[in-house]
Symmetry: D2
Subunit: 294 residues, 4 copies
């Protein structure tokens, strides 16, 4: 397919590379051009402006947040103004549910089509084409961009014909993970203050009822107080919990654990700054129990 790709951070670069390797014709754009140039040797064309990446069958966007998507899509030079009628915008960024709805309506009015396709997985998974793709949009539209998903993911879930629901699922997964981090952090603070070795505790817990990777991965990081460098920054975790709460508020769904997580993230960021991984959330309970300095 003839594709545009906008946003070449860790995840975006890996995804664009996969698309090039799969034989697609990809024009890439990034705000700081050097990241785009780096893909030229892989066969990418480099766009000078967003508009130059839009003369395609489908343009994939993978940027940081609502503000970034706003500037890329809605500006005079943006996707909305330059994507041909009938072409598709595949939005993979973790944006808000409200923004996904707004994108959908705007593309509809411009006779373009939106597919929301946020992904689950770390950059390593993206490089290996092992992401999970949470795709939402009208079925026929999803079928048309299936080659894109095939290149980047190990499996695609067709969530719904309403694009914004893919975001809801994606954000809820981050909520569930954060709630594991917090609960494990509290349990380990209790255990540690009682005098039991937290590694021993973790071994028991993950050998019995909680064998899932989240418990092992985050439990280990918490036991080791290993919260830097950030793989997924605490500030991004806070943002995603906020987006969950915004969606929940507009639907009038009280989510007390999510509210608690938001306050905990704010406390983490206010007390220890922005450089920490979101797993540091799991170290707050020990701090509040007076267990340590950091």
């Amino acid at each position: 397919m003839k594709l545009g790709f906008i946003g070449l951070g860790h995840m975006g670069r890996a995804m664009a590379t996969r698309l090039l390797e799969a034989g697609h014709e990809v024009t890439v754009y990034n705000r700081s051009r050097s990241k785009a140039e780096a893909l030229r040797t892989r066969g990418a064309r480099v766009a000078d402006r967003v508009a130059d990446a839009c003369e395609v069958d489908a343009v994939i966007t993978m940027v940081a947040d609502d503000a970034a998507i706003e500037s890329i899509v809605f500006g005079a030079d943006g996707v909305l103004a330059h994507l041909p009628r009938g072409s598709i915008h595949v939005s993979s960024s973790s944006i808000s549910v409200a923004m996904a709805r707004r994108l959908d309506q705007a593309h509809e009015r411009s006779s373009q089509g939106l597919v929301a396709a946020p992904v689950l997985g770390r950059p390593e998974a993206a490089e290996a084409g092992k992401l999970f793709v949470l795709a939402a949009g009208p079925h026929g539209r999803l079928v048309r961009v299936e080659p894109v998903f095939a290149a980047i993911g190990q499996r695609t879930f067709e969530v719904s014909d309403r694009p914004e629901l893919a975001l809801l699922v994606k954000l809820s997964c981050n909520f569930l993970t954060a709630s594991v981090i917090e609960a494990v952090g509290e349990a380990m603070a209790l255990v540690e203050k009682s005098g039991l070795d937290p590694h021993r505790y973790l071994e028991i817990v993950t050998s019995t009822l909680f064998g899932a990777p989240a418990y092992k991965t985050y439990g280990e990081l918490i036991a080791e107080r290993h919260f830097e460098p950030a793989e997924f920054a605490a500030s991004l975790g806070e943002k995603d919990i906020r987006l969950v709460l915004e969606a929940a508020e507009s639907l009038r769904v009280p989510m007390p654990v999510a509210s608690l997580l938001r306050d905990r993230f704010l406390s983490l960021l206010a007390r220890f700054g922005d450089q920490l991984d979101w797993s540091a959330l799991g170290g707050l309970a020990a701090r509040d129990a007076g267990l340590e300095r950091r």
Copy 2:
């Protein structure tokens, strides 16, 4: 071994049966005698009084709570007064950390030995000898009752030489499970009110990041609103969270998720009574979101 077994509820009966099948000489006692008589055909001796189950190498207790253990152990007819010097009390009940410590000290003074050995698993696992045993006490003492553990469990974890820490681990596991129930309940209320099918959501979530049994089991129960009959009653869940909080308070460890769970359990019990399974905790978020009648 020559064993006593006190407390023949679902779990206790299954465990005592396993011990009989393994060839141990077991004298059983239960407050309502009929449950004890039912084991006579399996080869058990039936004790008329607690004291009659104490002329043994080790007596195992598996009762409901601190009050039950208090009456069984500390009365004139109780374990403390009648267990021979040098014999061992294996306490498998989900009692409080403070009670475990009190038992330990009392047995110490009476030249007996306490082993705390709460278990993880449902009655089916107990019948199949597939429990996980969380054993704590001095190493030599644990070795002496290893045949007991071999008969009832698939694996024994030596938690610590301090008996009460086995309780802390056991209670913390129930805390972690309850936090999964609550978090999944909140996520599913959000998803359901947005119009996405909760079964579809659950399939995605458990096929990607949350493959652990707790997510599948409780997610399914929550999606189906299938909260009766109780396998593990909500009131017992509430009790265990309370015991976690008591232990945490005595160690001065704030556990905000545990506090939230306690309030949610109280609301569940106050509004819907005692007959529900603890998975019904996961249905509260939908109720609070105005989603349904029950």
Copy 3:
């Protein structure tokens, strides 16, 4: 002074009437014109468009929320485009801190001046000129609109030279009041379920430590379950708590009581709809304790 007044709800109408009575020359505008016409007999001029209310020394706005202020101020026909250079916009609406900042910057660029002047008090107080005015902006600018404050309020507090801080104070007052409603509701649920008459309880509490009006007023409403009709709608209470949390998030201040209040308001709205007064928040604890039907 030559004044414009935009937004003639309960509060706005009372405030505009006070200004007319004080002898000011007031041009009024309201989206539904009939409310504006009703003030003609009091001496008001009626504007056809927002722009027509802006040829003044100062224009006062008293509208529902950020969205209303956005359409009134930033449109082609809006305040920003039509208020003369050097004139003042007195914003009395309960808008967000962020919107106050945005207004301030926009007026600065247009060589106009913003004064934020949210008020404390009910419509009755407004009619009697007994509001408390929380005024913020450069001192000289506040002095210029002092005649406006003198007409509507019993006392003006000069909060700060930064307009948005007046909003922060106003919103925090609503947060403190909501926290009283919730805490009293919890205490009264406890007391009532114990069998003690809640009126008796309330009499004791307000005769000793808690004589402040908020305790008496809301305590009585809670004891009576008297939550309709709404004087201050629960949905507005929810909105103000949300604005507090937004301001707190941007400053990275965790506010766990505010988070809890937000969830409680959402539960109230989701379960019982929009017609209730915000005092109904104080009835939730009794509901969650299984005490009653409504």
Copy 4:
């Protein structure tokens, strides 16, 4: 009246002194005898043992907690064994609701009578006879000890004929006060981090809606970070919130604000130790917002 008085801390000494000044014949007992001897010059007889203070019409107890009341009342030398039939035990300590019920039943069986009479007020108020007395018990019994209340208090509230309900009211007052401390602490952290002077803020808030003493007193302490020495220790505040939660749990009343307060007190004690006043609860929000060192 012929009275016994047990427990001569700050409050107890002041109350006993008032009773002596009112002309009652008072035998005092305190665990550390020196505090009892100090009252001899005021006319008190000094008892060597608890039993010696019980040959009276009524014995008043004013001790720290359930454990203290347990040892004073239920021991072989205790009140229960030595108070004459028909005499009254006036319990003024802040004990648990459950303990009050237990005392009531025990005295009933011994043909004595319990009156629960916790008080509101600081030691200064006790010295001046300005306490509020929350009295509960059968009406006729309350009438008999009215002279005691007249000597120590400015006003007596007859709460109920069930003694334990006086404790419920007393504990709930401390809950309401703690919730004021927390809410004001959160609001002031927000305001302070925004750059507004907290004293200015406090002046506005207490001059308008929140004129009650609790807001002024604790607001000032929070603004000044003046948390030592403790007038009412944080650990006692934590104890009272725990007693509220215990009573609420036994009645199945979820109290989310109380749960939050308990966690906050635990965090305060774990991080900063036992020497702080309970007003320090109001400084936690600023800490969690990264505002300061202490």
